[in-house]
Symmetry: none
DNA sequence: GTCTTATTTGCACATAAGTTCGGTATATGA
DNA sequence: TCATATACCGAACTTATGTGCAAATAAGAC
């Protein structure tokens, strides 16, 4: 009886704005929430069934429809438990992987948006710090529109590339749009060109204010970066090849809030780390920090950031979680059996 | 073979409770977020398609699946649904409010014109009865010019003030102009001065003909009047201050087709009600009657007229609809509390 | 143990959704 | 003006989803 559909439709983009869009929303509402069949909707709106079908496809294509599934599969819960126990996390959420390739963005976005939506719904956190990254960007895209004028978001790091171009994965603007909340961003590059530059930047009144706001946040939501070939900071020109090699050489395996960490979760010694413009990990240690990350390239980086003990909650996908748990097991075995075998 | 079977069933029996729901969640996730067909999921999980279908149904039934539809239209549709369900209307159309003050004429006019245009386009209704009022007047102004020589419109009430001056919000003339349709109006005042006058008027051949035409209409489009300080009947001198006070005293909260109704939708006992020259509500009960009304002052009047059960369709604006739905909720709550008392 | 009752299962069919394709309306430009 | 490109539309078809029903299985009852 209650019918719902998934969004598999192949419909070309470039939909007309305005009236069409609202008709599409109307049709989608009647279909998904109202539970009417497309034929009923067609009759109701005086259009053909095919037209309704296309309108609904358009609406889902345009991202007007958000679906959340509560409750987790048993396997996922098992993974959650293992990970949460191993790093003493406050919580860990593993969402089923749906085989969408190396970067399970959709699953992560759905899971992350679900979490964030719940946080906002609950209304306990009034000031929330936000990191950067492709995944977070996707999370916000998936977040249902709901006005939250009483919540404030604050960016935790610089928002610009060093050439003052906007960082394409700066999340805060989209958040402002979606939630109607007040949003503070850092008018500074992600990495300063030099320590001197950084000092000058940090001396700015405006930036200082945002920093103190960032320190006061009640919840931090961050992404985790990896430093392999697909590192998005490299792809977006935020750092150079040379800089990446440098931190790698220093032992880095992952990045959180612009700080590169070694496999024990300690910031590596490298110029880049010093030049990052953003809140320091030490400053938020002990506060609720939730990371959203996943994908084939991420396990190492995720484990490193968990080792840092700064992160208190993790949202990831099943495949990544599985890899991580296997790594835990391998580690335990090696430690316990003293590599007796193999 | 029997061995295997038994083992399987035993395991199932042991794990049914937890497993079932999480399986359902997983199936639902794969369907809604992953976008797989039920058949693909079945293959993936090694179950029959029907089983998957039932798991997903179970998950949605259990409220594990939550769907959000964005867009202004979505909220409007939600309101439509509530109102239509509460009064068992054939339809309800809520048009987005764009903050144009206490009387959202533009939005109402656009919505109403859209509806009327559709009706005409469809060409099913050949004889349409029309009420009066500022809103209807505006609706007709918005109506696209399209010749409809095969449609006839008939006014449902007197067109003149009692001094034989033309009623400024008589809609029928403008309709004639716009559609090129044949239009019949009632050459009589809105309210007769006395019952004797009314009898004389009703005895006129011309008026009788229009009345029988009005009774034969296949669709009625009416406005809803309120009786507060802004009542347009007062403003246009159609009724006197004294008369208004009289019907108010009798419990009236709104007016439809010249009949003043109490909050239960019943005509109040007052001389004015008897002296109205126009079709009676009883005469059109059960036929398609559509009301177009909205604005800050109208919710009470609208609810009263819906209570009368005469109106089968409502076109209103978002703000008004919201107020009405809140009133429904408040009523339900009061009822619920009462029930809880037992 | 046997019989009864309740529940679950999957088949086959009924209904609904999604897609293709060819025709039609509309716009564009020579 | 006509020819061409383009978007749009809906009938007909394909695929997917939902359901009635009967057989199979489990759970009780005695």
């Amino acid at each position: 009886m209650p019918e719902l559909k998934r969004q598999k439709t192949r419909r070309e983009a470039l939909e007309v704005q305005g009236n069409d869009r609202s008709l599409a929303a109307r049709a989608a509402w009647l279909s998904f929430i109202g539970g009417y069949t497309q034929e009923e909707i067609a009759r109701k709106l005086g259009l053909s069934r095919v037209k309704i079908n296309r309108l609904i496809a358009e609406a889902t294509e345009a991202g007007l429809v958000r679906v959340f599934v509560e409750g987790n599969a048993a396997e996922c819960v098992a993974l959650e438990d293992r990970i949460a126990a191993h790093w003493k996390l406050d919580f860990c959420a593993v969402s089923p992987t749906v085989g969408e390739g190396p970067l399970p963005l959709r699953t992560l976005a759905a899971a992350g948006a679900h979490y964030l939506h719940n946080v906002l719904e609950r209304g306990e956190k009034k000031l929330i710090g936000i990191g950067h990254g492709r995944t977070l960007d996707e999370v916000v895209k998936y977040l249902p529109r709901a006005k939250r004028p009483d919540v404030r978001f604050v960016s935790l790091l610089g928002s610009l590339t060093r050439h003052a171009a906007a960082n394409p994965f700066d999340v805060i603007h989209r958040l402002a749009e979606v939630t109607g909340a007040e949003c503070y961003f850092m008018p500074a590059p992600f990495f300063a060109d030099s320590m001197e530059d950084k000092k000058v930047l940090l001396g700015q009144k405006g930036l200082k204010d945002v920093f103190s706001l960032a320190r006061a946040a009640e919840l931090y939501v961050v992404g985790i970066g990896e430093i392999g070939a697909h590192a998005h900071m490299l792809a977006t020109g935020m750092i150079t090849d040379k800089e990446l090699r440098e931190v790698k050489l220093a032992g880095a395996v992952g990045e959180v809030l612009g700080r590169f960490l070694d496999k024990n979760g300690r910031p590596v010694h490298a110029g880049l780390n010093e030049r990052a413009v953003g809140i320091k990990l030490e400053e938020i240690e002990g506060k609720p920090v939730v990371a959203i990350a996943g994908g084939e390239d991420k396990p190492q980086a995720i484990m490193a950031s968990l080792e840092s003990r700064v992160i208190k909650g993790l949202i990831t996908d099943e495949a990544t979680a599985k890899t991580i748990v296997e790594a835990i097991d391998a580690g335990a075995k090696a430690g316990g059996l003293q590599r007796a075998k193999r």
